[in-house]
């Protein structure tokens, strides 16, 4: 069966590449887009081209290191760069999603020193001395899922899944400060995470379930 399947493809050189996963392909496209699109989309980012004048004395250094998921990462950060942009486009941490980019939806939620923030509404330069945890950093060192993530699978919490990383981070942050929340407290903690599919109850169920084992 498998052989028949592979011979169905047009492959004049006979070198089929089965190792290209969809995820890697998409990440590659994002990287290419960053370079190709840089001239147009990001023209406002180069020093002084848009804001007028050269950098003022005392303006921040661009080469900084930030602590993300327990690792110190060196990165070139523009003064007007949001944390969501740095995480997604420079550090490859695309688990953090951008929904509205206006602090309204919570898809970009990350923990900064254990407290949830909308990473679209935080300048990366303001977290130089802080510790950032994204959805990639909530699980175990060997890829074990956090109890909140496991419970979300068991409770079929996500529908389309776009808001899920933000819901996970808000849930994990809640259990860190309050290991046994009431259902009402869970609702309050997730109040900043919009779910367009309306799967709120499933997310709350999952976090209540995880609270027992976290």
């Amino acid at each position: 069966m498998q052989k028949k399947f592979s011979s169905d493809r047009y492959d004049p050189l006979g070198t089929e590449r089965d190792d290209v996963s969809r995820r890697h392909f998409i990440k590659g496209v994002i990287a290419c887009g960053t370079v190709a699109g840089a001239a147009g989309l990001m023209s406002g980012c180069s020093d002084g081209s848009d804001g007028g004048g050269s950098p003022a004395a005392g303006s921040v250094e661009r080469m900084i290191s930030i602590n993300v998921n327990g690792m110190s990462r060196n990165v070139d950060v523009m003064p007007n760069e949001t944390l969501a942009h740095t995480l997604r486009n420079k550090l490859g941490l695309t688990g953090t999603k951008l929904g509205c980019d206006r602090g309204s939806c919570g898809a970009c939620t990350v923990m900064i020193d254990g407290v949830t923030h909308n990473s679209c509404s935080v300048l990366t330069h303001s977290v130089r001395t802080a510790s950032v945890v994204t959805v990639e950093g909530v699980g175990g060192a060997n890829g074990e899922l956090h109890p909140v993530q496991q419970a979300m699978i068991e409770e079929l919490a996500p529908q389309c899944g776009y808001c899920t990383p933000g819901q996970v981070v808000s849930g994990v942050a809640l259990l860190q400060r309050n290991p046994n929340p009431t259902r009402e407290e869970v609702r309050h903690a997730l109040a900043g995470n919009l779910c367009r599919c309306g799967a709120y109850n499933n997310y709350i169920n999952a976090i209540v379930k995880a609270a027992g084992s976290a």
Binding site: D47, N80, C120
Partner: protein, 327 residues
């Protein structure tokens, strides 16, 4: 990939004096940013385009809540979450804790500051979308027209502009008769909350007395209302991440079964938090019952001039006054 906001120079001072100096040097191209929860949206929308952004969040002296000889002093850079959970505020000035806890969403309260929340700009969407209205320095109002969508706009104090004060904590701060500490190039000055917020008749382009280059450094709450009976309610279309349609804050001292003293403030019906002194005068000395509540409520909306779509704010405001008084 999302578009970036236009570039600016970012300066991160660690003391107030440097911040004031940098802002003075930058002049009208400078921007003082506290939590950034509103500032960054202005920049992303390209409606405000400062050249120099002064990030105040690194100034530790502006953070924290301290008890003073007469009350409590809250650093302007204290986050709303800290205000909401602070034991002193919760115990003695509960109305402020309640108000802080009803602002926006948990993520925004974790970053947004009390200083930024009370000083935030008008939320009129015509203004926010970059139209050249009066408030933006233009020569018209888009909200106060026969077709204008003005459901969220004002009942009182319109003067060309019909935008309202959108802050939840501003009504609590006004009710508690706080004073605002402002540092600018000319030094420090202290302004009572009742004079801190200004309407369009005074200056149509600003919501507060803060001049460009000024920084609100602290909010001082006197002990006058400490431990009073507090009430706060915000009515909004959504329970999370929404601005009030009407909000109401009250502090009441009951003695011998009658209202000995009361402070009552209504938000989102005028460009400034509206202290309901007429209602206060009527109910002071009476029992906090249904009859008193009805008398007070009737006086609350006196003088209101609703726009096309915001008549509903009149009964809403009256009902909140009733709830505040009869408990």
């Amino acid at each position: 990939m999302k578009d970036m906001m236009p570039s600016f120079n970012l300066v991160q001072p660690t003391d107030v004096e440097s911040a004031i100096n940098i802002l003075a040097e930058a002049g009208e191209n400078g921007w003082a940013m506290a939590g950034g929860q509103d500032s960054l949206d202005w920049f992303k929308d390209r409606i405000k385009r400062p050249h120099t952004v002064v990030d105040l969040s690194g100034i530790e002296a502006l953070k924290g809540i301290r008890e003073t000889a007469d009350g409590v002093e809250i650093g302007a850079l204290t986050t709303l979450t800290t205000v909401e959970n602070n034991p002193i505020i919760k115990e003695k000035y509960g109305v402020l804790a309640m108000a802080a806890g009803r602002v926006a969403s948990p993520q925004i309260r974790n970053k947004g500051t009390i200083g930024g929340n009370v000083s935030q700009d008008a939320r009129c969407w015509y203004y926010r979308s970059g139209l050249d209205c009066y408030r933006a320095g233009g020569n018209t109002c888009y909200a106060d027209t026969p077709e204008g969508m003005n459901r969220e706009h004002c009942l009182f104090g319109a003067s060309r502009c019909v935008a309202v004060s959108p802050s939840d904590t501003a009504v609590a701060v006004t009710t508690l008769e706080a004073s605002m500490v402002i540092v600018g190039p000319g030094g420090e000055r202290v302004v009572p909350a009742s004079e801190y917020f200004i309407g369009p008749a005074i200056d149509i382009t600003r919501m507060t007395v803060l001049e460009p280059g000024d920084v609100l450094t602290a909010i001082r709450i006197p002990s006058k209302w400490a431990g009073a009976q507090f009430f706060f309610e915000k009515v909004a279309d959504r329970n999370s991440w929404d601005f009030p349609l009407v909000n109401m804050a009250a502090a009441m001292k009951i003695s011998g079964g009658v209202i000995e003293d009361i402070s009552l403030t209504c938000g989102a019906v005028e460009c400034v938090p509206k202290r309901l002194t007429v209602v206060e005068d009527i109910v002071r000395g009476s029992e906090p019952n249904e009859e008193t509540a009805n008398l007070g409520a009737g006086a609350a909306s006196r003088g209101a001039s609703p726009l096309n779509y915001n008549h509903f704010k009149i009964p809403l405001m009256e009902n909140l006054v009733k709830k505040a008084i009869r408990g």
